[in-house]
């Protein structure tokens, strides 16, 4: 998928107009641009920036919805309560663990899927492509229920099918402890989101110049050498974008945990913690503070990716 069109700047700038008309024209264009894009921009700010500012404000109060008379200003007190609570660090740890496991597995699996799709014969390609889109399009809650019921000791088939595996028997209670619960949660997440990664990687694969591949082949490079020296370096941008999007997405994991474990056996994620403080306990102050911290974590990850790994979105867009 190479970019064929010219950047818009060159198209819209007339070559030989008097100076004054350029500035008039560009001013009009600027105004038109904002008039067209402004509403979307405003709506985006309104639905996110405003609530998060509100959350920052609320996080400074001790405020329980069922006890509005006792609302009081506590400054950064809520943050102190959260940061000194092992529960926060444990949720954060679980969230990071889930993020790392799912993203790592998805990257490898997604790459394999992308390779197969790239090579798949044109006769079966539509079938494979439609199939792979289905996990992407299925509602997360539905996927969570499907995986939960499959592993459930009463309704599931996993125990009877995989009893030959060491550690699995008819009596294996997958949701009974931390490790096995996490395995199922991660499996469901991986199943659901690998297709997205693999499609991004597939697009990246298409950007690798065929000439280089051929040249390497002529030089006698093995498949693995070509993969390492030619394919992967040329896909670096696509890989990084896929990693960034999926990491941020995985970090917000909520639906699967809510459905499958309800946070039992220490499987609570940061999003789930925030949900329980606000929506379940109605502790608006504490919950807002958790939300703000979660937001900061996400910003930090995004920033880390963009600065640390030099993810250049412009480059990834193919504008090099």
């Amino acid at each position: 998928m190479t970019q064929t069109t010219l950047p818009p700047v060159e198209k819209t700038q007339p070559v030989s107009s008097p100076r004054g008309s350029i500035s008039d024209r560009s001013r009009a264009e600027r105004r038109l641009g904002w008039m067209l894009a402004g509403p979307a921009f405003l709506v985006m700010l309104l639905v996110t920036a405003y609530p998060i500012l509100q959350a920052v404000y609320e996080s400074l109060f001790s405020y329980r919805l069922t006890d509005p008379n006792n609302r009081s200003f506590v400054g950064l007190g809520n943050y102190w309560v959260i940061l000194s609570d092992p529960l926060w660090w444990q949720s954060l740890g679980v969230t990071v663990l889930i993020t790392v496991i799912t993203v790592a597995v998805e990257l490898v699996l997604g790459f394999a899927l992308a390779l197969v799709m790239a090579k798949a014969l044109s006769s079966i390609r539509p079938v494979v492509r439609a199939a792979i889109l289905i996990p992407y399009a299925v509602i997360t809650v539905v996927s969570a229920f499907a995986w939960q019921f499959a592993f459930d000791i009463d309704t599931g088939f996993v125990n009877s099918w995989f009893a030959w595996l060491p550690g699995v028997s008819a009596d294996t209670d997958w949701f009974g402890d931390f490790g096995t619960s996490l395995v199922v949660v991660c499996a469901a997440e991986i199943w659901k989101t690998t297709p997205f990664i693999s499609l991004l990687l597939l697009a990246g694969l298409a950007q690798v110049p065929e000439v280089l591949q051929e040249a390497a082949k002529v030089d006698g490079a093995t498949w693995w050498q070509r993969m390492r020296k030619v394919t992967i370096p040329n896909m670096k941008a696509a890989i990084m974008v896929a990693l960034l999007f999926r990491s941020l997405d995985a970090f917000r994991v909520f639906d699967s945990i809510f459905i499958m474990t309800g946070g039992a056996n220490n499987t609570e994620s940061v999003s789930f913690l925030a949900y329980r403080q606000t929506i379940a306990r109605l502790e608006i102050g504490l919950g807002s503070a958790v939300s703000v911290l979660l937001f900061l974590c996400v910003v930090l990850i995004a920033f880390g990716f963009i600065k640390g790994f030099k993810v250049d979105l412009a480059q990834a867009r193919g504008d090099r």
């Binding site: 979307a40 079966i124 492509r129 509602i139 990246g204 919950g287 807002s288």
Partner: protein, 277 residues
């Protein structure tokens, strides 16, 4: 490609299809198990029963499920339409015009897309209950825009960039009016991009769970994913596994149909938006 290699790629393709469809097949199979059969420990039902479907469509859970289905469709379609409309203007400006706010808008969209939903649900809940938007359609449509609008802007501006806009001028040179040029030349070129964007935005809205459970509390606005958690078995202590499975199958049908009909476009839209923007 040697024929051995070819076989291997076909095997790989089949494996992918199994990977993608197996959990779906499982929930379909589960939805056809009767209450007594649900714990049979097997993949397939012993006898195929439609009692779960009658339970959610005409039976005890229909009061829960049918309004939720209507809410889900209505809310998601409206949110999709609004975000596509807004994104269309924005994407046109980004692809076609030269103005300094472009990068700002694209990066704002990116920032909103990575925003943790749970962080805004708390303040939204608090504001909504004060201004009376709690448990209403607009109360969900507005937050859904935060999910659908950013991806719509990215995807659509990627599509619009590939439109050969100079054809419009060419048509005008050939004697068409501005409006004719727009309608006959640009609209057909832009329509597929808008349509694809709409499908992707719809998927995202359809998938929402956090807003659904936090900002609603009755069948006035409750969408299907949130309603699934409310099903009950024969009594409050009995598990509604079968009903949930049947409802899960029903809400999966629309997305599967969309995927089957428009798979090529969806793939283009997803990769365009993210990789090329």
């Amino acid at each position: 490609m040697s024929s051995r290699e070819r076989t291997w790629w076909i095997v790989g393709g089949i494996l992918i299809v199994i990977y993608a469809l197996f959990p779906i097949a499982w929930i379909v199979s589960l939805s056809f198990k009767s209450a007594a059969d649900i714990a049979n420990g097997q993949f397939l039902p012993t006898t195929w029963s439609t009692e779960n479907y009658s339970f959610i469509l005409t039976g005890g859970a229909s009061d829960l499920f049918l309004p939720a289905l209507r809410n889900s469709f209505g809310i998601c379609l409206i949110a999709t339409a609004i975000s596509c409309l807004l994104a269309m203007f924005a994407a046109y400006a980004i692809a076609r015009l030269d103005f300094p706010g472009k990068t700002l808008i694209l990066s704002t969209a990116l920032a909103v897309a990575i925003f943790p939903v749970i962080s805004i649900v708390t303040p939204l809940f608090n504001v909504w209950r004060q201004i009376g938007l709690y448990d209403t359609w607009p109360g969900l449509i507005i937050p859904y825009l935060s999910l659908t609008l950013p991806i719509s802007i990215w995807t659509m501006s990627a599509f619009f960039r590939e439109i050969p806009w100079e054809m419009e001028q060419a048509a005008q040179v050939d004697g068409a009016t501005t409006w004719q040029a727009f309608r006959k030349v640009i609209v057909p070129l832009a329509a597929p991009g808008v349509f694809t964007t709409a499908i992707i935005a719809f998927f995202i809205a359809w998938n929402d769970f956090v807003y659904g459970i936090s900002l609603t509390s009755t069948s006035a606005a409750r969408p299907v994913p949130a309603a699934l958690g409310l099903f009950s078995g024969a009594s409050q202590f009995e598990d509604p596994t079968g009903g949930i499975s049947a409802a899960a199958v029903i809400v999966t049908i629309p997305v599967v149909v969309l995927v089957l009909l428009f798979q090529r476009r969806i793939v283009a839209g997803l990769t365009n938006g993210a990789v090329k923007g």
